[in-house]
Symmetry: C2
Subunit: 307 residues, 2 copies
């Protein structure tokens, strides 16, 4: 089934203990769509870039059959730019520079031919813009997944609450779940968030894996323990892209299939962090992916007979 992803397409300058990469292709919609493109073709992308965005960058999308009809290119303007430096633990980072540029007055326009799409991924953006995308749909998609962050809870709380009422799956990290629910325990936080709109909640815990909550069901997937995390940027977005990519390609939103989607998302994310930016995901082969999934199987499988 059709999948529309909305979010940022950015230029990132990233410093890690392993090196520095300048003005590379990044942004949430980039990582979503490239990860999802591993599962299905013709993903629909709505985002905005400036004239400075390199042609080679665009080719990453078209090479993966991502439909860029909804990618606005603003003449005479510059792309959204982010620069950050990761600390030695790779879990914490400092933002060195944020230039909104084209994002400052981004007006997400959903092309007419995307308005009946079945699966919709709303990346982390101002909640009013996320609602504006929803308003343009001809019919309620089968599944709407939303990412947001503490920044919007700080400055646009009421809008976050409004948009939450209109989505099926929410992805946030543990601190965001706590802020949104005002509960410290993630189990209590999840129970509360599941009364605020979404029927499914994914709490991302970085190197400590991800939890999927739905009613009284709970599923946990670890992150694959890696020898080296080279660049964590985009791991969460790649996870979400793999998750919704699998769901939309199978068109099955049962809890059993969502568990598979969490494992597939975790597998894609485990590749994302192996190189700077999108480098590892765009070079990923089917065999590499299958081997990685089988590593997840052996990582958590055990054989206990419950009498």
């Amino acid at each position: 089934m059709s999948l529309l992803v909305v979010g940022t397409v950015a230029l990132d300058t990233i410093e890690t203990p392993f090196g520095k990469a300048e003005r590379i292709i990044g942004g949430s919609a980039t990582h979503f769509s490239l990860a999802a493109s591993f599962f299905k073709n013709n993903i629909q992308l709505v985002s905005v870039i400036g004239e400075d965005f390199p042609t080679a960058g665009i080719k990453n999308f078209t090479d993966r059959n991502i439909d860029i009809k909804g990618l606005q290119v603003k003449k005479g303007e510059k792309s959204f730019f982010w620069a950050g430096r990761y600390h030695n633990d790779m879990n914490t980072r400092d933002t060195l520079d944020t230039q909104l540029n084209v994002l400052a007055d981004f007006d997400p326009i959903v092309p007419e031919e995307y308005r009946n799409t079945e699966y919709l991924m709303l990346g982390n953006l101002m909640p009013k813009l996320q609602m504006k995308v929803l308003d343009q749909m001809n019919k309620r998609p089968k599944l709407v997944m939303l990412d947001t962050m503490n920044f919007w809870m700080d400055i646009a709380w009421d809008d976050v609450i409004e948009v939450l009422k209109r989505v099926d799956v929410l992805t946030v990290n543990d601190e965001e779940a706590r802020q949104l629910s005002k509960e410290y325990s993630l189990v209590k936080a999840a129970r509360k968030i599941l009364t605020m709109g979404p029927q499914y909640l994914i709490i991302k815990k970085g190197e400590n894996g991800a939890l999927l909550f739905h009613k009284d069901e709970l599923f946990f997937a670890p992150a694959l323990p890696l020898e080296e995390v080279f660049d964590p940027t985009g791991a969460g977005d790649s996870f979400a892209g793999g998750f919704i990519g699998h769901l939309s390609s199978t068109d099955d939103i049962s809890f059993a299939n969502m568990k598979r989607a969490v494992i597939y998302g975790s597998a894609i994310a485990s590749f994302c962090v192996e190189k700077f930016g999108i480098d590892r995901v765009v070079s990923l082969s089917n065999d590499e992916f299958k081997n990685r999934v089988s590593q997840f199987v052996s990582l958590v499988q055990f054989d206990i007979t419950l009498s």
Copy 2:
């Protein structure tokens, strides 16, 4: 097969956001042996207490058929005492008081009838004392498991290195694994530690679960997400006790059985944190335990067919 546990039997005063418990029964050997007693009878205990240790405290051991022949009672002396206060996150704590008392000149004497035991758990103690226990054994046990901590790495590095050469399974937390290996990545840390003596390494990550490493094999078990962690004291020791309790009762040290042991240990630890000290583990029923294990199964199981 026989199981000998060596460690501390203490009095703890614990403050958490939920309340305060004064001079309750604690210590590593207490939590090990009570958790292990869920899996087998006649666990052998070597430790030391003072005259102030309450009779009711002793009864916790004898009620569970734990053999206390090796528990020294020092006339006119006081038991090891620890007081701590947990922060709101329940992951960090301040030590308010440590009184070594009987522990200051503890000389662990292994009773003659314990010296042929097959399974040996060496709790966190001065590494010289851990070696002294090993020296008293008539034959090398089938499996020796060791717990240690950063404190000994700081003040008795060479002794830690020596005792490591004589054990099969090491349990440490993530920070201790990093300090011991001088590697930040836990995968690299594990590879290095597995050249230092132990063939098996368990890295405990508290609420983020536990990793079991052996050669090129890797197994991960999450901690059960709980609504409320009431008192985390002893969770790691209960985990270790459940682990070696299952191994010794089945007398099977295959990797497949160690995976089960990690799950059983995690299940016991998930009960330990529900009440102060040993309260929850000593009241645990078989049915409660089985239900908890089945929660672990549904928490991580997924169904992916690898083609």
